[in-house]
Amino acid sequence: MRLTHLLGTAVVLALGASAAMAERGADGQLNIIYWQAPSTMNPFLSGGTKEVEAASMVLEPLASYDQDGNIVPRLVEQLPTVENGGVAADLTSITWKIKPGILWSDGTPFTANDAVFTWQYCTHPEGGCSQSSYFDGVTSVEAVDDLTVKVIFAEPKPYPYTAFAGSESPVLQAAQFADCLGAKAPECTDANFGPIGTGPFVVTDFKPNDVISLEANPNYREADKPAFGSVLFKGGGDAASAARSVLETGEFDYAWNLQIEPEILTQMEAAGKGSVVVSFQTSVERLHLNQTNADSGLSAEERSVYNDGNNPHPFLTDPEVGKALSMAIDRELLVEVGYGKTGQVTCNVLPAPELYASTANDGCKTQDLEGAKAVLDAAGWVPGGDGVREKDGVRLSVLYQTSTNSVRQGTQALIKQWWNELGVEVELRNIDASVFFGGDPASPDTFQKFYADIEMYTNNFSGADPEAYMANWRCSEIPGPGTQWQGSNIQRFCKPEYDALVDEMAKTADLATRGELAKAMNDMIIQEYSIIPLIHRGGTSAHANTLGGVKMTDWDSELWNIADWHRVE
């Protein structure tokens, strides 16, 4: 893996060199459109993807992820590993060596103290820092000298590249934010809207939720970059019109997050002004099958509450039912109709990186309606008078909910038809995303509360290490009224064997063994049919044909290498 890191770095450098014939600012203005507009330039105050990506043009982490999900050094000499002594042998600390000569955009030197300050800023108890989980398990961050940062962990950390790695954990300038700790953080409007960074661009004007104007950083560490002298970063509208402004009218050079029906995107691309780029990370569109009883007749203390397994779902805890539901789905068709090249069929909840991706469940890739019927027949679920299957007076009737989004409603319609054919009655419901993902304990419609039998959404994990992600499905993570419905084990899956695997992974450092453990956990969840994975979704963006150097990634900010972007004829 280390070799690939080095190779990756070499390639980046080589490409950078070849593109760097022009001087800084020679290529004029770059127009970027994000149909959701950033509300601040401080990614610690708002952790939304749009804010993090906008900020990544200005603020930089010590290390980034490249387009293949490999971690590569950015502001440091080399990536710390156990072999080169950067990571302590007992895995309790990591030491980053900052490249000498890096300046902030105001001309002052970038030092280890800035990293220490960033840690203090984000872990302040009153600050409400969105990215504080990057400092989980960090007991302290120390400046050994001006160019050496040492991050110390409470326990051995097999994957130490959390703090200061990736665009969600960048470094702030201590001098600028010194008076903005804790409760004072929101009052520093000027700093939050125009942070001083080490990145290729500097904010000249920030209009929240509307437009950002930036210009090239005069103190950027590579003298001939960035090729663009200024950036106009516009927000607002919807995905289809953002795509249109790049692909059809050519008013913009780059558009982000274009989840639109594939035929529309193909038609726009045919206009010949730009092209669509896709990158796959770990996002999986999946169905969660409620393992607890969500009957609307139950009281608030019982409905969708786990109660130590005493409130099971009438039929979704039966793996045979889940298996049949999964077999009835034609994932190829879902991809073709709703996603095109921006989606791939998957049978795993953990589809990448390759090291962690299981191949044990690939049977799901082809639809088998007859087989699904046979599975239900064998399990004793037989069609009743109205065609809906039943057993012991229990009817296979489900309420299937998701957030409002035209592609999701299309998927719902197709799946409903297949399940109806199978003899399952389906009622559809869609809920506005601000409510569905909102987590308000008073609302019956949040995905955590799960007042439905089946729900569909996409989840992923940041970075390249799945340990925290797989720990989502521990028994202790089940949401319930006792925890204000907070918890990540949405489908209420509970198996002691699974929890044991999670504990083992936390103690394992060897990469190959971690891979095996992750695969085993993935297979356990999939084969119990508490989650039915559908589609491995990619990040989708479009850039004008006159824009070169775009290396689309979904592992980090899409703008991670904006310093290398340039105009081509």
Binding site: S39, G128, N209, G438, G439
Partner: protein, 337 residues
């Protein structure tokens, strides 16, 4: 009439206070949440910390009271300081109304959005009225003529086809195919000379026309109906019998007497200008007050939505009062005292 106006204004204060409280209760009860738009990779504990940092852990009446203090006292004081340069009390620690989403003062956000809102939405309203009144008058005067029938068709289509569709149609025709106008409104554009003014006109045409079409359809229908009613009144016959010119009869007597419903509709519409035009602003990315409001609602930014809605409420109360005063001027028989 003057005492009536004063009485109404005095009455408006408690009314607006009650309205602001009801708005706050609704916003507080609404099930959307400020952390909903964050990626799911951010864990629940962190979300809770974010909510606490926003002050959501405090009970509702306290948060309402804080907003009242910030909006009714701190903001005006701050404004006076800005205008006069004085320092009143401890201006460093005086809390302004801070938006949860952008963490910046709400009033500044609103001020920043004002120009494009007034340019586009305001202009569309003016254009709408200028189109609607002649159409309404002529349609009524020549009832069931080809002009009237065409006007009816035009306004019904204008009203029943929603702006999300007309806007898109305009973009496909004029931006994609003909390449005449930009499809994205540039809010950073400054008018300094003729060229930049021409650019401003070009980028305003499509959103203004989409909205004006919608507004004109509505107003022209009320204008026509009211004109028709008045054209059959006895005073019209009298005026004609007196030998007044037809133009005078129509434009002085009938039009004036027909204005009451039109004034009502326009007065109801003016606050809407400041409410922005959510859909049209989204389509053309004008990013005015309407977009600010909808983004605020989607991200459950209670201070922002509360402030915007409240300003909106003030304008509604104010313009309805203006309409009532205008009734008295248009028809002196109307008396309130």
């Amino acid at each position: 009439m003057f005492t009536y106006t004063l009485r109404r204004l005095a009455f408006a204060v408690p009314t607006l206070l009650i309205i602001s409280f009801i708005i706050f209760v609704i916003l507080d009860m609404a099930p959307n949440d400020p952390t909903a738009s964050l990626p799911l990779t951010i864990p629940p504990e962190v979300r809770q910390q974010i909510r606490d940092a926003l002050g959501l852990d405090q009970p509702m009446p306290i948060r309402y009271f804080k907003w009242c203090v910030q909006f009714f006292w701190n903001e005006p004081v701050n404004l006076i300081e800005q205008w006069t340069g004085w320092t009143i009390g401890d201006s460093e620690s005086r809390l302004r109304v801070i938006s949860w989403q952008t963490r910046s003062p709400v009033v500044d956000l609103i001020a920043e959005r004002m120009p494009q809102t007034l340019w586009v939405v305001g202009m569309s309203y003016v254009v709408g009225i200028l189109i609607a009144i002649p159409i309404g008058v002529i349609s009524a005067y020549k009832q069931y003529s080809w002009f009237d029938q065409f006007g009816t068709l035009f306004s019904m289509a204008g009203f029943s086809v929603p702006t999300f569709f007309t806007g898109l149609l305009f973009i496909v025709i004029f931006s994609v195919n003909l390449q005449w106008f930009p499809s994205v409104y540039d809010t950073t554009h400054r008018v300094t000379d003729w060229d930049s003014f021409w650019f401003q006109v070009r980028q305003m045409i499509m959103p203004v026309m989409v909205l004006a079409l919608f507004n004109a359809s509505q107003i022209s229908r009320f204008m026509r109906a009211s004109m028709l009613d008045n054209l059959q009144q006895d005073y019209v016959r009298t005026a004609r019998a007196k030998g007044l010119r037809e133009r005078a009869v129509l434009l002085i007597h009938v039009l004036r007497n027909s204005m009451i419903p039109v004034v009502t509709v326009i007065a109801l519409g003016v606050p809407q200008i400041f409410g922005g035009a959510i859909i049209t602003e989204q389509i053309f990315r004008v990013n005015g007050l309407g977009q600010l409001l909808i983004v605020g609602i989607q991200s459950a930014d209670i201070p922002l939505v509360q402030t915007l809605t409240f300003i909106f409420a003030v304008l509604i109360v104010l313009f309805n009062l203006v309409a009532d005063v205008l009734y008295g001027i248009l028809d002196p028989r109307i008396r309130y005292d």
